[in-house]
């Protein structure tokens, strides 16, 4: 029997060497017989039985019309709509994310005008339903028939355009409504992320001679991301489904197209199943992507750090030798 720890574990530091020896040799490990939870077993069985019955009844349901589902699942109409759904989600989240960072920084600014504007923006866009905003943007031409670029109050105009032609392309009001609305929500979650970073981080960065902007970009925001990513992922998944509201202004994203078809063919249930299956698939992809993002921004906080540090050290050693 050897004395001393066989696996120091934890940090993988040479912790073993200096540890004092235990007073006696290690006694046999405890092997107890676990308590049997009969109630849990019975409960689990009943639940599985009921779920199986439910799934069976759905799969075997003639009203679902599975052949129709498969027909439309990969039909060009659906896929074209799907492309627009993905595009709308991606671009709205881009507008929302960038706008959110800008609004959050404005909101935290010492300048009362900037923080005030940000406050009012958030108040307005969070305070009105996105559905109403979509219809409002689509009708932009009614209250601003013409848009002018110039200097306000000075009578200087560089150019103008008909707002009708701008919003006639459904994507424009859709992106304006979804993106600007998202920016208001994103602003609040970015702000939450920023204020979750310790003040000491900012002080350390400033004391190294980093400018406030550089401090925000290199030190505060990357750490805020750890808090932001899970919620922003949630928002993205929510946005994916919110794009279906565009159908209200005749937008031909996936749901809009399927709706148009079932309005004529009355294959309502199978096409709704198609929509659900695609939304579920995309949500799953987003969930996986979110996991990777969380791992990236959580660096420095993860487990199994000892092995990771060794890998990084080996990588750097290799790089230094090449130089």
């Amino acid at each position: 029997m050897t004395v001393g720890p066989t696996d120091p574990g934890g940090l993988g530091v040479a912790a073993g060497a200096g540890l004092p020896a235990p007073a006696a040799s290690r006694p046999e490990a405890i092997k107890a017989i676990p308590v049997r939870h009969w109630g849990r077993w019975i409960g689990a069985f009943v639940v599985i039985y009921l779920v199986a019955a439910l799934v069976y009844s759905f799969v075997k349901n003639q009203n679902v019309e599975w052949p129709v589902v498969w027909d439309y699942m990969f039909s060009p109409v659906t896929l074209k709509g799907l492309a627009l759904t993905i595009e709308l989600t991606f671009v709205s989240m881009l507008i929302g994310g960038l706008g959110g960072v800008l609004l959050a920084v404005m909101r935290l600014s010492d300048n009362y005008v900037l923080s005030g504007i940000s406050w009012v923006y958030i108040w307005f866009f969070r305070g009105t339903p996105v559905y109403v905003q979509i219809i409002l943007w689509a009708n932009l031409g009614v209250f601003y028939p013409r848009l002018y670029l110039g200097i306000p109050f000075a009578g200087v105009v560089f150019g103008s355009m008909d707002s009708g032609t701008l919003v006639a392309h459904i994507v424009v009001p859709a992106l304006l409504a979804l993106g600007l609305n998202e920016a208001a929500y994103a602003a609040e979650l970015v702000r939450a992320g920023i204020i979750s970073v310790e003040a000491g981080q900012t002080e350390a960065a400033l004391s190294l001679g980093m400018s406030p902007t550089l401090t925000m970009r290199r030190i505060v925001l990357p750490q805020a991301m750890r808090v932001i990513v899970p919620t922003f992922g949630n928002e993205t998944i929510s946005m994916l489904k919110t794009t279906s509201l565009i159908a209200a202004i005749g937008g031909l994203e996936m749901f809009g197209r399927l709706q148009q078809i079932y309005a004529q063919t009355f294959q309502i249930i199978p096409l709704l199943v198609v929509a659900c299956l695609w939304y579920l698939f995309l949500t799953s992809v987003l969930t996986v992507a979110q996991g990777y993002l969380e791992a990236y921004f959580g660096r420095g906080f993860g487990e199994k750090e000892a092995e990771a540090a060794e890998r990084r050290a080996a990588k750097r050693a290799a790089r230094v030798q090449h130089v």
């Binding site: 350390a204 400033l206 400018s211 406030p212 750090e305 050290a313 750097r316």
Partner: protein, 274 residues
């Protein structure tokens, strides 16, 4: 490191040069208040290049605030604060003081290293990335050069084996040594230490003090807020006792710590030196 060979003398020598014959730190009647509370009430002191100046005193006496005023993390309300002859945070034009732009304040701070009680390492960067960050992003030095120097600095503070480890995996003492290396990487002319050992397990205090002593011996100019009397006695060129926002007594450690003149100093020392 205990053998006291010169580990940081090159850095320290360059630092001392930077003062151009001026005192490294000169505080004249510095006042600072938070709301209605006057935290500093007319502080005067001078630190010459290559000197280690230790600020002692009870909590709330204004030591940390004074330190944070030196690199303009806090704005002073009255008086003048000079580092290497340069007024901190303001520009004097004619009879008026002009606030400096953020960019100019950053330039001033970049030559003053600061070490915090809570380390404040960047948790999303490895030890070597922490040390490289400011040289690359602020001084725009080539990444390879900064990396080589960061590695060298981390070796000097005894962390050559921990280059690629994130702060969360380091002990408090190791984190604080990375923080010292991070500050030194900017080749500062002055180092500020704000209770650098107060958040450490007693067993780890020694390793951080060793690095600081080495820096002091090698001639780095340092202003240190600490409760470590041993450090003050051993390496300080000047000590000051602060209480109630003023310096109660200052002078060489042998005078102030062993033959204090002021009653307040005697009371404080009797409580600390048990």
């Amino acid at each position: 490191m205990s053998s006291r060979e010169h580990v940081f003398s090159d850095a320290a020598a360059a630092a001392a040069e930077a003062a151009h014959g001026q005192p490294m730190v000169k505080a004249e009647q510095v006042w600072k208040s938070f709301g209605k509370l006057d935290v500093l009430r007319g502080v005067d002191f001078v630190v010459q290049p290559r000197e280690t100046f230790v600020l002692l005193g009870p909590s709330g006496g204004g030591k940390s605030t004074l330190l944070r005023c030196i690199n303009h993390l806090e704005k002073i309300d009255a008086g003048r604060l000079y580092v290497a002859g340069e007024l901190m945070g303001y520009r004097e034009k004619g009879n008026a003081l002009h606030e400096m732009k953020a960019r100019d304040v950053a330039r001033q701070r970049s030559s003053i290293g600061m070490v915090f009680q809570r380390f404040n390492l960047f948790p999303h960067k490895t030890a070597i990335e922490n040390v490289m960050e400011a040289p690359v992003m602020v001084q725009h030095r080539p990444k390879k050069e900064a990396e080589a120097e960061a590695e060298e600095l981390l070796k000097r503070v005894g962390l050559g084996e921990k280059l690629d480890v994130y702060p969360a995996q380091l002990s408090g003492g190791q984190q604080q040594r990375v923080a010292i290396a991070r500050a030194l990487a900017m080749k500062p002319k002055l180092m500020l230490f704000d209770e650098p050992t107060s958040a450490l397990d007693p067993e780890l205090v020694g390793e951080v003090l060793d690095v600081m002593k080495q820096l002091a011996v090698d001639g780095m100019t340092m202003v240190v807020v600490t409760h470590e009397m041993g450090f003050a006695k051993e390496v300080a060129d000047g000590v000051a006792l602060m209480d109630g926002g003023v310096i109660v007594e200052q002078g060489p450690p042998r005078e102030v710590l062993e033959h204090p003149k002021e009653e307040r100093t005697k009371v404080f020392l009797s409580k600390v030196l048990v």
